[in-house]
């Protein structure tokens, strides 16, 4: 009787210690689910979902506070991937054409150097300073359109990324139908 009690108590103690040790030493910072969701999001940081960036949206989705189909740049494809990851039901975003990647471009003749767009850019892709011309570093620009509304002189436009041999893609092969008669 006493032996049994001691054995059980010993096991409990050992397991408790092991669990306590694991909790301290294998502690994972942050929410791994939110990180997985963040990895699926396109990182445009456009805030069109109503959250200030991709990470906050990912956290909201992880906690169940937000729908999975709010990401505009991610589109239906992204929503499907999120549905798969979270085991939730996929809800279509409605009819949407596939958007080509765009980047912002500042008309440098019109720019007055107000720095408002610089403050709006979520990825610091605009350089310039007060009363100096600004310009967009197109390699970093995500095309989120957040710089468009604050511009007082409306000198920012989104342009399609030019096609170069480096980013040109082969088409899906199609063979024509055979003419029978």
């Amino acid at each position: 009787m006493l032996t049994a009690l001691l054995v059980m108590a010993g096991i409990t103690l050992a397991l408790g210690l092991a669990l306590g040790y694991a909790a301290v030493h294998f502690h994972v910072d942050g929410n791994p689910l939110a990180e997985q969701i963040d990895a699926i999001l396109p990182q445009t940081q456009c805030a069109q979902c109503g959250f200030p960036g991709c990470k906050p949206y990912a956290e909201a989705v992880a906690s169940g506070a937000a729908e999975i189909n709010l990401c505009t740049p991610g589109g239906d494809d992204g929503a499907k991937k999120l549905a798969e990851l979270l085991g939730r039901e996929f809800k279509p975003r409605g009819v949407q054409e596939e958007k080509l990647k765009t980047v912002a471009q500042i008309d440098e003749q019109t720019c007055i150097g107000c720095t408002l767009c610089i403050q709006a850019c979520p990825v610091d892709a605009i350089v310039g300073s007060a009363k100096q011309m600004h310009t967009v570093v197109s390699a970093i620009c995500t095309g989120c359109e957040l710089c468009l509304p604050p511009c007082p002189v409306d000198c920012i436009a989104l342009i399609e990324e030019p096609r170069t041999p480096q980013n040109w893609r082969w088409k899906y092969p199609r063979t024509g139908l055979r003419v029978v008669s």
Binding site: L41, Q43, D124, N167, W168, R169, T175
Partner: protein
């Protein structure tokens, strides 16, 4: 001559034996092309890097004068193909399956063909670094079609240098004619490349369907031996049995040395390196004769009156070349490169570049259109033909279903796009088209992922920066408030003293 050290050749997996169609164009000596009205020289001529233009419109340039400086370490320079005036720097269609335009320098020839005099280097005494820099400055890239910058390739210590004269692709004969007519220059270039990369032996591998080229190269080696140069010791001409794609780098290395270059490894990791015979010839012209790369040999064949090889100035329009060879009326498209690995040119306005080895006028009789694709019957012919030992039918399923992760698992990026699988497919499936599609989609996805990663890092840093600025501002304000408070307190405590009344 000692007994061949390559008496025993090896074998690569798969491969095909298509009709070679070499005799159409290999019977006539290399012909010159009359100066065209204008030459369009694209700034990007290499697979790894471009050039930065250093001339402006209206400049007079001499033949071989640098007009585009090498951009970065991997860049290669470009040169004026003839003497004349820079007419324009603008966008022109390029020799690429997309038909996209790229920045090019347009030169109007003055007809004098005056060469630009470079300071001569003595290849026997100049330092290795100087010679490699000269190769870069002369704009030399791999002339077999891949256009990899030669100065990067040669800057590796190797044991065996393979001079690639296999020319396994049907219809193309430019390397054949080059070896027959300019064997000595090719050999000099090869010995220079061998010396720069420290190679102990040089193997000239030529497919056995080019007996004249083999004889010419052997004669050149013998002449070298008679001239009593120490380096001639290690040179050997090895005929290899004709089989496509023998001229593929990894395939040729396997056949000659028996070494199988593993996926993701480079030939130099095994102490072997391949150079095309055209590249060796260009190296000889650059280092011995001081001529930058301004022309190349191009095979013009197919549905033309006068097929053959032409010495073409870079920047000559394909249309001019075809007109010279006399295109027959039933030609319906133009192929650049061979029929196996080449592509249909979207526009014959495209200029000849350093990698353009062959222009084929195609007619429905010579190159019948592919019959409609039928369902795969899983016969496995493609897997037997694949020289890389992939399973093309598996890759096909996954590429077709846009299941790119799975295609990656089946090593789609090891595919060399040689076209053997599509050639043998009884269901006429354009397998390579599917693989090219899948590869470019996968590359684009990868780029997107990288861009997203960068955007995430930048967004996170910005958030951190804003937080930090806020904290700093708050700290500053707090410090100021504390200061003011202290000053006020001090003022209050000193007030009674300050007011003696």
């Amino acid at each position: 001559m000692s007994a061949s050290r390559f008496a025993h050749l090896f074998h690569f997996h798969g491969g095909i034996k298509p009709a070679s169609h070499k005799t159409e164009s290999n019977g006539v000596p290399i012909r010159a092309v009359p100066l065209p009205e204008r030459l369009v020289v694209p700034l990007i001529q290499s697979s790894r890097g471009g050039a930065r233009t250093i001339v402006t419109v209206g400049d007079k340039v001499l033949k071989g004068q640098c007009i585009g400086e090498a951009e970065g370490k991997a860049g290669t320079a470009i040169h004026a193909p003839t003497s004349g005036t820079v007419k324009e720097i603008g966008r022109y269609p390029m020799a690429h399956p997309s038909g996209l335009e790229s920045l090019a320098i347009v030169i109007e020839p003055d007809g004098e063909e005056r060469w630009f005099e470079y300071e001569r280097l003595d290849p026997e005494h100049a330092s290795r670094e100087d010679l490699i820099l000269r190769i870069q400055a002369s704009g030399i890239v791999g002339m077999g079609g891949a256009t990899f910058p030669s100065h990067i390739k040669v800057d590796n210590a190797i044991d065996t240098l393979i001079l690639n004269g296999a020319e396994c692709e049907p219809w193309i004969t430019c390397d054949d004619r080059l070896m027959r007519e300019r064997a000595a220059d090719v050999l000099t270039g090869a010995t220079l490349l061998g010396r720069l990369s420290g190679a102990k032996r040089i193997v000239v591998a030529i497919e056995d369907n080019k007996p004249e080229a083999i004889a010419a190269m052997r004669a050149a080696v013998r002449a070298e031996e008679l001239s009593d140069k120490d380096e001639s010791e290690g040179i050997e001409v090895v005929p290899v049995p004709a089989r496509y794609p023998q001229g593929g780098e990894k395939q040729l290395i396997k056949v000659v040395t028996g070494i199988e270059v593993a996926a993701g490894k480079l030939a130099t990791d095994y102490g072997v390196q391949c150079f095309n015979v055209g590249t060796a010839h260009a190296v000889c012209r650059a280092l011995v004769h001081g001529e930058a790369m301004v022309s190349r040999i191009v095979t013009v064949t197919g549905n033309v009156e006068r097929p053959g090889n032409y010495e073409v100035l870079l920047g000559t329009r394909v249309a001019d070349l075809l007109a010279l060879a006399g295109v027959k009326p039933d030609t319906d498209r133009t192929l650049m490169g061979g029929p196996m690995m080449g592509f249909t040119l979207p526009s014959a306005e495209a200029p000849i570049t350093k990698g353009s080895n062959c222009v084929i006028a195609a007619s429905p009789t010579l190159f019948p259109h592919r019959p409609p694709e039928q369902p795969c019957i899983r016969c496995g012919s493609c897997a037997r033909a694949c020289p890389v030992e992939l399973q093309p039918f598996e890759l096909y399923w996954h590429s077709r279903a846009k299941n790119f992760d799975k295609a990656g698992e089946y090593h789609i990026f090891d595919c060399i796009e040689c076209g053997c699988c599509a050639f043998v497919c009884p269901a006429h499936i354009p397998l390579v088209d599917y693989f090219r599609f899948a590869k470019s989609e996968m590359r684009a996805k990868n780029e997107e992922r990288k861009a997203a990663e960068q955007a995430r890092a930048r967004f996170e840093f910005r958030s951190f920066r804003l937080e930090r600025e806020k904290a700093e501002k708050a700290a500053r304000l707090a410090a100021k408030a504390a200061e003011t408070r202290a000053a006020m307190a001090a003022a209050q405590s000193s007030e009674p003293k300050a007011d003696p009344s």
